[in-house]
């Protein structure tokens, strides 16, 4: 019997090549998309699971009542570390870490190679030795028990080790951090896996931290919230209880009243780092879209099967007459469907594996994944495949097995199929609604990406090179400026604590005329005299800081947003208060974008620095002409000025494009385009199936018409009117849906919605629908009408 089934199925494949091809394509597309995104979701959810202590590791994070834009901060004060161990017995191990780079975004750490050249490395941490007890790390060289216990030691990743010591045997060798801090390699560890939240390239022992930073009492500091505190709970300890205990212990700490610690499990560090649901929502949307695509493909399968069954009705009628039971026919059909879906799934697995580069590009990720190596996933996919096979085979199987053989053999079965036909119409209309929706949304995102890339930032972001520098010795800025400006290629130079898109210093101010309890969260920047001209910021009122006014060191420049918030009509000379000290406003700068363009412009205040470069600072240079030339010029100058300090100039416009927001939107755009194309393919197949059904049903009628001399045009027209109704439905559903997405799209600045995105989407769908109809009509037109009429 099984052999009979199988030969039957294979014969059917051979007999209905077009049908099989379309249907398989449909299923393969559906499954490939589903598999790809299952992998993504699986990959994201599998983050950090390689750690043997996965369930016991927590990061102690900080909830701040008064911070922006979220109350939840992944960092915490170093003081946590020393009180956790002492006060909470459930804590087995504590680990204090801090990013070495700290400071401005994108800055990393330099290593000086033996030949004097500089190696720039991101993702370095200060860390305690307990990292080896808490996280699962494999040491290639060194000893876990004491690798990071002593000051002046560093553990480096295998990759970094190969860069620093190509000849191998790194243990015990000296590395120069920056240009002047020698540390000894105490361990080499295998690189953290890709799906690890923590991806340290090197770890400097925490004991080195006070020596290098000069912060001797960092362990009692409750206000510097820039450390990572990890804990390993004892087996069986209740994290809720521990969370409550920690909150209790830290309740009455001075200067920490507005903040409270909370436990954040390792399982959430990746998908929801600061307790915001962003990644989870993203994963949810992806899962939903992937499931939707699979459902659409299954619906197509059902439709196509029913359409094709007109052709197979005779076979089924005969089988019944010669003694096949309903059950046999149904199970034959079902097994056929299951075989189709399984075949499609296997093909789809290959397609999915081959599409990984595309997926990585769409998602802006670098997932390196072998589907074949993941048994659990394969089993999951096969189960889904079976489910889809059963679900999409069941309905056609029941319909087909119930055919009345007498009617079928007379060719009469479909004379009253009107009802089921309209259900199919609704399904195809729903498919078109979804793809129209996806299309329009991707057009909207396309526009949005262009919009934010081209938005006027309020300052001149071209021809600027910047670098972070943290000099050992103080240096008068004027010295630097004079040397730089000797070159005609250098138009201007400034230094400041932050620059647009890079760095942010928060703080609260009150102002003259504010209500007693009123205060405002601001973004502040300490700039020198040259900052405003270098970035070509425009003044709305008043003036820039100037050396002619010595009192400017107690002055400030606010932006227009601040002016609105403070509600002043005449801002010049008004006072603001920062940490209790008064500053008087000397000017108002026109609003510009200090943060990514999709963030609202903050209340922004600039204060004058003392024009001496010390500590971590950002230098910005405006150049004219060729960038490479300017870069080597200023690099050369800076090397002579700061021979002991590493730095690297970066192109500001590159930093702008690397800003989180841009890749995010670009990735969103690609994602929707991808889904738009996929759903379009699937709904086209759906329409194809529907028209195939109509045409099959009417082959005779069309044949008669042709014999009677009816023009092909009228057949075409008849099919078109049917499709127009479905298009109308798609427009009614798809357009408002897309408009809603536009409305809820995050971001303070959006381009107004234009009709063109809708029109292009609709026209595109209409053209595809017309092409599909034309294909069928042409096929009918060139076919011989006698053929259609031959069998009664």
């Amino acid at each position: 019997m099984i052999k009979h089934f199988l030969t039957n199925i294979l014969r059917n494949v051979r007999h209905n090549k077009v049908f099989t091809f379309i249907n398989l394509t449909n299923l393969v597309v559906g499954f490939a998309v589903f598999i790809l995104f299952s992998v993504v979701v699986n990959y994201e959810l599998d983050y950090d699971k390689f750690n043997t202590n996965y369930d016991q590791i927590y990061r102690v994070q900080t909830r701040q009542e008064d911070s922006y834009p979220t109350n939840f901060c992944t960092y915490s004060p170093a003081a946590f570390r020393y009180h956790l161990m002492a006060d909470v017995p459930e804590v087995e191990q504590v680990l204090l870490m801090r990013e070495v780079s700290g400071g401005a975004k994108g800055s990393g750490q330099f290593f000086t190679l033996p030949d004097g050249s500089q190696l720039y490395e991101l993702n370095g941490y200060w860390s305690e030795n307990s990292i080896f007890d808490i996280f699962t790390i494999t040491l290639k060289e060194g000893n876990k028990s004491n690798a990071l216990t002593e000051p002046g030691t560093i553990a480096i990743s295998e990759t970094l080790s190969k860069k620093l010591f190509p000849e191998g045997n790194a243990l015990g060798k000296q590395v120069t951090v920056g240009k002047r801090f020698p540390v000894t390699v105490s361990a080499v560890y295998a690189d953290f896996p890709q799906n690890s939240n923590l991806k340290a390239t090197y770890l400097v022992s925490m004991a080195t931290y006070p020596v290098l930073s000069g912060e001797q009492a960092y362990g009692e500091n409750w206000t510097n919230i820039s450390f990572d505190n990890y804990i390993l709970l004892k087996k069986g300890a209740d994290p809720k209880l521990v969370d409550a205990k920690i909150k209790d212990v830290f309740k009455n700490v001075k200067n920490f009243e507005k903040s409270s610690p909370y436990l954040h499990p390792l399982s959430k560090l990746h998908i929801s780092p600061n307790s915001q649901p962003d990644v989870i929502v993203g994963l949810g949307i992806i899962s939903l879209a992937a499931i939707l695509v699979l459902v659409l493909a299954s619906v197509n399968y059902v439709n196509l099967s029913l359409a094709n069954s007109t052709q197979r009705s005779k076979e089924i009628g005969i089988k019944k007459v010669i003694g096949s039971s309903k059950k046999l026919i149904a199970s034959q059909f079902l097994s056929e469907t299951i075989l189709h879906t399984l075949a499609a799934t296997i093909l789809a697995l290959f397609v999915a594996q081959a599409s990984f580069p595309l997926l990585n590009r769409i998602l802006n990720r670098n997932i390196d994944f072998s589907i074949w190596g993941n048994g659990q996933l394969l089993i999951f996919i096969l189960l889904v495949s079976l489910l889809v096979g059963v679900l999409s085979g069941l309905y056609p199987a029941l319909v087909i097995s119930a055919y009345n053989p007498v009617k079928v053999l007379k060719g009469k079965i479909f004379s009253n199929g009107g009802n089921s036909f309209s259900i199919k119409k609704v399904l195809v209309a729903a498919q078109f609604s979804i793809s129209l929706f996806m299309l329009i949304v991707s057009f909207i995102l396309f526009n949005h990406v262009n919009f934010i890339l081209n938005k006027d930032l309020g300052f001149d972001n071209k021809n600027i090179l910047y670098t972070e520098i943290n000099p050992r010795d103080k240096m008068k800025f004027e010295t630097v400026k004079t040397r730089m400006l000797q070159h005609p290629e250098i138009a201007g130079i400034s230094f400041s604590s932050t620059i647009p898109f890079i760095g942010n210093i928060g703080g609260y101010v009150t102002w003259q005329g504010a209500a007693p309890d009123e205060k405002e969260m601001i973004s502040r920047n300490y700039v020198n005299y040259d900052f405003i001209p270098t970035y070509n910021l425009k003044m709305a009122y008043g003036r820039n800081f100037s050396k002619e006014y010595p009192a400017d060191n107690k002055g400030c420049i606010i932006n227009e947003t601040a002016l609105k918030v403070f509600g002043w009509s005449d801002p010049i000379g008004k006072q603001i208060y920062l940490e209790g000290k008064p500053f008087s406003v000397v000017g108002v700068v026109k609003d510009f974008h200090p943060f990514s363009v999709h963030n609202p412009i903050p209340t922004y205040i600039m204060f004058l620095n003392n024009n001496v470069i010390s500590g971590s600072t950002l230098l910005s240079v405006r150049f004219t002409g060729d960038e490479q030339k300017a870069r080597s010029l200023i690099t050369g100058e800076l090397v002579t000025i700061f021979p002991n300090d590493p730095f690297e100039f970066k192109d500001f416009s590159v930093a702008f494009y690397l800003d989180d927001a841009i890749p995010f939107w670009q990735s969103m755009k690609r994602m929707f385009m991808f889904f738009a194309v996929v759903t379009l393919v699937i709904s086209t197949i759906g329409l194809f199936g529907l028209i195939l059904f109509t045409v099959k049903r009417r082959t005779k009628e069309i044949g008669v018409r042709k014999v009677l001399g009816s023009s092909v045009g009228s057949i075409y027209w008849q099919l078109s009117t049917e499709v127009i109704g479905m298009l109308g439905f798609a427009i009614l559903v798809g357009c408002p849906g897309a408009a809603y997405i536009y409305k809820t799209m995050p971001g303070a600045y959006k381009e107004p919605l234009t009709a063109s995105v809708f029109i292009i989407g609709i026209v595109l769908i209409a053209i595809i629908a017309q092409l599909t109809i034309s294909f069928h009509v042409l096929k009918v037109a060139v076919s011989n009408p006698v053929e259609a009429l031959r069998y009664e």
């Binding site: 005969i318 010669i322 053999l409």
Partner: protein
């Protein structure tokens, strides 16, 4: 073996009831060869389908071997189709995706006959119908007469007691038609009960009994070779 009493078949439309068969009374004994004749639309196929349990009468009694077969469950019906009767059609109705061999074999698979036995049975029939060389061909590759032979082979492979044939020669040249009729005659001689519908007077004569249907009513029921005629009202 077959007993029909007062069988009606009608279709109701909005304003009227159209009778296709009216008060059909028919008894067929084992081993008979009955030819049903009549003008187009007189209800011949309908009658045959009712006998073949493919269609249900609107009213009346129908029993096989004194057992009523009205309101049979699906399973029982399938059982009759598998073990009791075989069908032959004017349009052959072979399964196009299957070879000659597979077409003939399929009813045996439904019957649950073992693979070895199937092989022997199909080989026997192929041999008998001189079709051994054609066993791996698809129906489209055969002539009409050959296709109908396959149809007969498929109908009788399960050794049914009753063979129902609806215009088995309708699509064939007279020569091929004659060959088919000879085959049926041989089968009847071997004891198989046959009911055929035909438009061809000559082929009707192969039957031992000829029934003439007009407007759904049996006008004549003549025992063919005995020249005995009884007029049934």
């Amino acid at each position: 073996m077959i007993y029909l009493n007062n069988i009606d078949k009608y279709y109701d439309s909005k304003f009227q009831r159209t009778f296709v068969l009216k008060a059909i009374k028919l008894e067929v004994k084992e081993g008979e060869f009955v030819s049903i004749m009549g003008p187009s639309g007189s209800g011949k196929s309908t009658l045959l389908n009712i006998i073949g349990l493919l269609d249900a009468p609107s009213a009346g009694e129908y029993s096989l071997y004194d057992k009523s077969v009205l309101d049979l469950k699906e399973k029982a019906k399938v059982d009759y189709h598998r073990n009791f009767m075989g069908f032959i059609f004017q349009a052959y109705h072979l399964i196009e995706e299957m070879t000659v061999y597979e077409n003939i074999e399929t009813p045996l698979i439904y019957k649950g006959v073992k693979s070895k036995d199937r092989q022997a049975m199909v080989a026997d029939l192929l041999d008998r119908f001189n079709m051994v060389a054609k066993k791996d061909l698809f129906p489209q590759q055969l002539s009409g007469g050959q296709q109908q032979l396959v149809g007969i082979a498929r109908a009788i492979i399960g050794k049914p007691k009753l063979l129902l044939a609806d215009e088995p020669t309708g699509n064939l040249h007279s020569l091929q038609g004659e060959m088919i009729m000879e085959t049926l005659k041989t089968l009847n001689d071997e004891g198989m009960t046959i009911i055929q519908v035909t438009h061809n007077e000559k082929f009707a004569e192969y039957g031992k009994r000829i029934i003439r249907l007009e407007d759904g009513i049996i006008r004549k029921d003549i025992a063919g070779n005995t020249k005995f005629a009884s007029i049934v009202k």
